[in-house]
Subunit: 191 residues, 2 copies
DNA sequence: CCGCCATGTCAACACTTGTTGGCCTACAGG
DNA sequence: CCTGTAGGCCAACAAGTGTTGACATGGCGG
């Protein structure tokens, strides 16, 4: 743990601080959205002074932007048999939402994009750069272009009602039931 | 137009003022969400003093609550042939979202419910009191209970990606294409 | 030893917010 | 005429915000 190239005592402590700020910021943005998240709150959670946040990120907006970076970690969809594609997609996203509770990036993005144009733009970019290519690998470019929007709409609708609105009938399903219920819907828009 | 019981010159002007406030409030809440909407902004839009808003609604939260009242105007679903149900549902909601631009109530509810627990609760209530019964009339209670959550998820996913996130492939579809694309997905969760 | 620079704290500024209380104005009833 | 009252405006308060600049501190190179 004293590796001089990464975390040893001689290592700059600014990196750890910056990471702590980012982690706290993601947590706050995910739980409260952009407006209700305060620099003071994030700083307190990271155990430092609010002015440090400004020094490292310059502005609340830039901190927000840094917190918005998201990797969907989509697998290679060309490798899955076509008839399993819907179940794989739904399953992957459920895992992604429910996986590491410390990884709030997805929630940050969705929750903020609804009231914040900057985040909405980021969402559109994430869609274009990650979802579209992954689907194109499995369906071909023109079919992907036709279906990707509808699939995003399904998956995001699921996330919306389950994790943000918490509609009881959607919350009460477990992973298997969720996949079983949504895969046919996704399959329907692929046709 | 001088009906003494409703709008004549002898009529209280407070009713008109209150209505103007509510209309402006809906517009602001729908466009900006709860936090970024200011009493001052609403008052300016309604052409009156901020303190008037307080006099009539007491508090920003109560004004918000008044703005959240939503009537989905769902038709009698028992009257539509089962195989047309998906298209009717999707079509109705598209009309509802796209209809009267002055009627922002639906957008207020959806946009706010994502970052505001009070609005989320209101959304769950609206779902339980309007969507569930309407579906129960067409599908019977137990089938409705099983499907309503999934249908809400589809419809809200559509609204989310089209009106809030504005994902290009979802925005570019017109009403007919939208219905044609989504009806099969809704039909899939009914099976 | 000295001095420098990165890391961090403290206190304050300027601004916006929801909210409040006092004042004004018009008009109906006597 | 006076008076009361409802509808409305103005100015201010207290709290919280993002942001800034002056100051501390501790370790490292000379």
């Amino acid at each position: 743990m004293t590796d001089p190239s990464e975390s040893g005592p001689g290592r700059r402590s600014s990196d750890r601080t910056k990471a702590a700020i980012l982690r706290a910021a993601r947590e706050h943005f995910a739980a409260r959205g952009y407006e209700r998240t305060t620099i003071r709150g994030v700083a307190a959670d990271a155990g430092i002074d609010p002015s440090m946040v400004m020094r490292y990120f310059g502005t609340k907006e830039r901190l927000f932007d840094a917190a918005l970076a998201v990797d969907l970690r989509l697998p290679d969809l060309a490798a899955v048999p076509p008839h399993e594609l819907p179940a794989v997609l739904v399953g992957h996203f459920v895992d992604r939402w429910e996986g590491d509770p410390a990884d709030d990036a997805l929630l940050v993005l969705l929750r903020s994009a609804v009231t914040n144009e900057q985040a909405a733009e980021r969402m559109r970019r994430t869609f274009a750069e990650q979802v579209l290519p992954a689907l194109a690998a499995a369906l071909g470019p023109e079919r992907a272009a036709r279906c990707a929007g509808l699939i995003a709409s399904q998956v995001l609708g699921l996330a919306l009602t389950r994790y943000l609105l918490r509609l009881p009938p959607v919350v009460s399903l477990d992973r298997a039931a969720l996949v079983a219920a949504y895969a046919p819907a996704v399959a329907a828009v692929l046709a």
